[in-house]
């Protein structure tokens, strides 16, 4: 049941990526090109998504349970720390280089373009590596 729910959620999300123009790197880079031929319409993608998702967050915050009656806690980390800022900066550098972020990256495998596979492969490897390195650093740090 939850498998099916996640599949439907993914299909909705993926259809949105496809329709909105988020899968076209030229479009994304055009949106990020504030000082050139700026294409502002992708701001509406984020805006539209937030407006639709926000009531769900409010509902879950109030009820504290999902549709299956399980306790559901929303992320409540507040700290704005170095890893957050450094990580967001590094992510932005990569995003700005090719115009692909993780969701569109996965969907773009459908182009069967070797560059999409290289991007996703490198991304997944870096994700695992970052996790392993952080684990090691945290473990060796005095409490």
């Amino acid at each position: 049941m939850k498998f099916l729910a996640a599949l439907i959620a993914g299909v909705l999300f993926g259809s949105g990526l496809l329709i909105s123009g988020m899968l076209d790197p030229a479009n994304v880079l055009g949106f990020l090109d504030f000082f050139g031929q700026w294409r502002p319409q992708l701001a509406l993608v984020m805006g539209g998504a937030i407006v639709v998702a926000a009531p769900a967050f409010m509902l879950i915050r109030r009820r504290g349970r999902n549709a299956f009656g399980e306790t559901t806690e929303l992320p409540d980390r507040r700290r704005i720390d170095a890893p957050l800022l450094l990580g967001a900066t590094v992510f932005g550098l990569g995003w700005g280089l090719v115009g692909i972020c993780p969701g569109p990256g996965i969907a773009l495998l459908a182009t069967r373009d070797a560059r999409a596979f290289l991007f996703v492969g490198a991304m997944l490897a870096a994700m695992l590596l970052t996790y392993l390195l952080r684990e090691r650093l945290v473990r060796h740090q005095p409490a």
Partner: protein, 138 residues
């Protein structure tokens, strides 16, 4: 600056669908639709409870496989795809989120932390595009 009205409607409708997908995953599964978080947990092989992650990622790619995507990947250079992938992988794990996790779900959750992250990665991405397109030597 050029905006066709069809682009505006596609952006809004697409955005609404992305929001609907995020809302569905939250309301039914009680999970956050942050793609980099879901992928990160998949590759590190967190024990148990991986089924929904695989289902979400599969669902995410289905429309593109089904309808076909006709876009041009940029740039031509293969090595840049690898470098960008590495940066995106490291950055999203260190910064705990990407465009979907911070930019959509975090902002919908009214998180200041996610707002700061979103402004940071947008600025860094815009700066990169500026250097590549308008920087010295281009």
């Amino acid at each position: 600056m050029h905006i066709a009205s069809v682009d505006i409607w596609r952006a809004l409708a697409g955005g609404a669908l992305i929001g609907a997908g995020s809302a569905t995953l939250l309301l039914l599964n009680g999970r956050i639709a942050g793609v980099s978080g879901i992928l990160g947990n998949l590759v590190r092989g967190v024990s148990g409870d991986q089924g929904w992650r695989i289902a979400f990622i599969a669902g995410l790619s289905l429309p593109a496989w089904f309808c076909g995507v006709h876009v041009t990947l940029l740039p031509r250079d293969w090595s840049l795809s690898i470098i960008a992938g590495l940066l995106v992988g490291i950055g999203t794990q260190l910064g705990s989120g990407c465009t979907s996790g911070h930019g959509v779900c975090g902002l919908a959750n009214l998180s200041l932390r996610s707002l700061v992250a979103t402004l940071t990665f947008m600025s860094a991405a815009a700066a990169t595009v500026f250097v590549v397109r308008h920087g010295v030597g281009s």
